[in-house]
């Protein structure tokens, strides 16, 4: 305004001086806005980091003790006659033998107990799995029969919880899961230095069990691997073939448009619906057995297919058209162009989608409940047609049990699941880096 004479026609464009003044005036507001936005961003990240730390803290603090449990060392006399009555070391003969009696005798002599009620209380200290453990030992060390050996046996889960301090001595005896006599015996064993706190072999090599001290994740872990193997071997080739066909070969018309919309919609369908679909089709119509990793894998493949197809299509679209032109321009056929040039360039992106899909499948519980993979299965699945369960379902089941020790085992299993995910993802990231090429 200062430079414009009053009688001159007013210009819509401000003079440079006026414009500068206005810009200066607006700077404070603009800067404040930017600072505020940054603060919001930092706050959001701090909050999510807080949650993450809490989550990992809780899981680790509960889960790491779950990797360990209390064992007692006993001197067991491996009496051949009592252990192996038939003398052929067959499963039947060992089963007919009195392994349980031998373990109990060793315990009783260590504690020097006598009397029926004392023996009853002492017998409850060690895990019910101890006789099976002794039989296993004899199977692998038959030469040690008729000698005395120091062997470790797991303590019962109530004793374990007591030793961890979850059960207090001050609680009235009638309210405790463990009575005064048993506590006396535990003290006796501890004074003798026979109780040890070690890495739990049951957790890693055991299968599902109603006894917390014997429960392990091996069955569920193998089940998860088998299920994922089925899922990957179905979803990856089908997903990539669909994506390649839809992007490179299919004519762009109504039909392909409808297919595309439906694939996008399928990605948003709740996973439990895929479980119902699997139940209806694979089990009811095709009559396949329930609870098997084969069906689990097929259901999860249905669930992950849309994810893989969508990300693969995006990866294919990101391949520069000039590469296709170059190949077509020297007479490569459509198929050669696709497989020699487009696919190798799109593969890293496709793998990313597949990782996301597989990670989703690994953590999925709901659809597997529908097809019966929630059953209590003690045997470790040997093939994709053996009944089994998977890690997240195992976690789900353990979280439901009342015993103290299952709480730790649940957290431990979650840690194993997370570790499985991390290993899987880092392998895929490594693979992607290896395949990635620049152009």
């Amino acid at each position: 305004m200062t430079n414009t004479p009053d009688n001159a026609p007013k210009s819509a464009i401000l003079s440079p001086q006026d414009a500068e003044a206005r810009v200066r005036a607006s700077m404070a507001t603009r800067r404040n806005r930017e600072t505020r936005f940054r603060m919001w961003g930092i706050a959001a990240i701090a909050l999510s980091m807080c949650f993450l730390v809490t989550l990992f803290g809780t899981i680790m603090s509960k889960g790491i003790p779950g990797f360990f449990q209390y064992y007692v060392t006993l001197d067991v006399t491996l009496d051949r006659e009592r252990l192996d009555p038939a003398g052929d070391l067959s499963d039947q003969s060992l089963f007919d033998g009195d392994a349980r009696g031998l373990v109990r005798d060793a315990l009783f002599s260590t504690l020097q107990v006598s009397g029926r009620s004392n023996r009853k209380a002492a017998g409850k200290l060690i895990s019910l799995g101890s006789d099976e453990r002794l039989r296993d030992y004899v199977r692998t060390h038959p030469e040690q029969l008729d000698s005395e050996q120091s062997l470790k046996f797991a303590l019962d889960d109530d004793v374990d919880s007591f030793l961890r301090g979850f059960i207090s001595r001050d609680t009235p005896e009638s309210d405790r899961r463990i009575n005064d006599k048993a506590i006396g015996f535990i003290d006796q064993l501890q004074e003798a230095g026979l109780i040890s706190y070690e890495i739990s072999d049951y957790l890693f090599f055991g299968s599902a069990s109603r006894n917390a001290e014997m429960a392990g994740i091996k069955g569920a872990f193998i089940g998860s691997i088998l299920t994922l193997a089925v899922c990957l071997s179905l979803a990856f080739p089908i997903g990539i073939a669909s994506a390649l066909y839809l992007e490179e070969f299919a004519p762009k018309n109504r039909l392909t448009e409808i297919i595309e919309i439906n694939i996008n919609n399928l990605a948003a369908v709740p996973s439990v619906v895929f479980g119902i679909l699997g139940l209806a089709i694979f089990i009811n119509i095709f009559g396949l057995p329930r609870s098997i990793p084969l069906i689990g894998g097929m259901v999860l493949a249905l669930m992950t297919l849309p994810t893989i197809i969508i990300s693969s299509r995006a990866a294919i679209r990101a391949v520069p058209p000039s590469i296709r032109d170059g190949a077509l321009g020297i007479g490569a056929s459509k198929m050669q162009t696709t497989f020699h040039h487009v696919l190798p360039l799109a593969l890293p992106g496709m793998l990313t989608g597949t990782i996301i899909g597989m990670a989703q499948a690994l953590g999925e519980t709901a659809p597997l409940l529908m097809i019966g993979m929630v059953a209590f299965i003690v045997d470790i699945p040997g093939s994709i047609t053996d009944p089994g369960t998977v890690l997240p379902v195992q976690i789900f089941m353990w979280a439901d049990f009342a015993e103290r020790m299952f709480i730790q085992k649940t957290s431990s299993a979650i840690m194993v699941l997370l570790a499985f995910l991390v290993v899987m993802n880092s392998f895929a990231v490594w693979l992607r880096k290896k395949l990635e090429r620049r152009w």
Binding site: P251, K252, P320, P321, S322, I323, R324, D325, G326, A327, L328, G329, I330, G331, A332, S333, Q336, H340, H341, L345, R437, R438, W439
Partner: protein
């Protein structure tokens, strides 16, 4: 990218017509004695938009033909018709005849794969494959089964690189990625890749538009050498380039072929007003 470009160009219109009507027929002689490709009444449409309007032209054998004209005039579109690269654009339709050896290349019985092996193409943006220099050149012979043995293939690669004037620069690093070369080298690599398939005709779509003057000069030199063996069609934005490398020049305007003639003649005494305006720089 190039698809979109072709589409946009075809659809674009140049409003600067300077009030001059384009001729119904092309000025100059569209026919030549030793034609390699004969085009008769070619129309190209993108959906409903006409990109090439009733174009007839001969491409002379063992000569360099240049297509010039303002952006959106259809020269790239027409070039891509000659080896059916427009097939990749779903909305593009081509009518009329494009005869190679008296055979319409758009006839239903024609397979585009052997056709494109005979009519190679070099693009505006150098597009080497993300593979080694050797593999870039060897790819064509490999997919067409042109080499009898590994040493034969190696010889083919060497000769193609020699003809493209790149051998001396890359002979020690054939196993390195083709994408690591400079822009001009990449473009010559693409030319070598095309030559390795033993085409008769090479189409070049503004091959120097992304290159510096020195790299451009090398490519132009190369085009001159190649014209002894190959029939070359080049689309260019640079009139100087057309004047330097081509024997015959065709001037396109808004999808029409306005004028065609020997390069010297066309640049010194254009017959049509539109051509004259363009080459004297009055619009374009």
């Amino acid at each position: 990218m190039s698809h979109n470009k072709a589409q946009i160009r075809g659809a674009a219109s140049v409003d600067n017509f300077n009030g001059i009507e384009p001729p119904m027929d092309t000025v100059g002689n569209i026919r030549v004695n030793n034609a390699r490709i004969m085009c008769n009444n070619v129309f190209v449409h993108y959906s409903d938009k006409r990109a090439i309007d009733n174009l007839s032209l001969d491409i002379e054998a063992q000569k360099v033909t240049a297509f010039i004209g303002p952006s959106g005039c259809g020269k790239s579109t027409f070039l891509r018709c000659l080896n059916r690269m427009n097939d990749t654009i779903a909305t593009c339709s081509v009518t009329g005849e494009i005869l190679l050896d008296n055979q319409d290349i758009y006839a239903p019985e024609i397979d585009v794969v052997p056709l494109r092996a005979r009519i190679g193409m070099v693009f505006q943006k150098a597009n080497p494959f993300p593979k080694s220099i050797f593999d870039n050149v060897a790819y064509g012979p490999k997919i067409h089964g042109l080499a009898e043995s590994k040493s034969h293939l190696e010889n083919q690669v060497e000769e193609a690189l020699r003809r493209a004037g790149l051998w001396e620069e890359v002979k020690d690093r054939l196993d390195q990625p083709g994408t690591g070369l400079s822009g001009g080298q990449q473009q010559r690599l693409c030319i070598a890749r095309t030559i390795a398939v033993s085409p008769e005709i090479i189409l070049m779509d503004e091959p120097c538009s992304a290159l510096d003057p020195i790299a451009t000069a090398k490519i132009e030199e190369l085009i001159e050498e190649l014209s002894e063996k190959y029939t070359i069609v080049i689309v260019t934005h640079s009139m100087q380039q057309a004047a330097r490398v081509s024997h015959r020049t065709a001037y396109f305007h808004l999808g029409r072929l306005i004028e065609v003639g020997a390069t010297k003649e066309l640049f010194t005494s254009p017959h049509h007003k539109l051509t004259e305006n363009y080459i004297t720089g009055r619009f374009g």
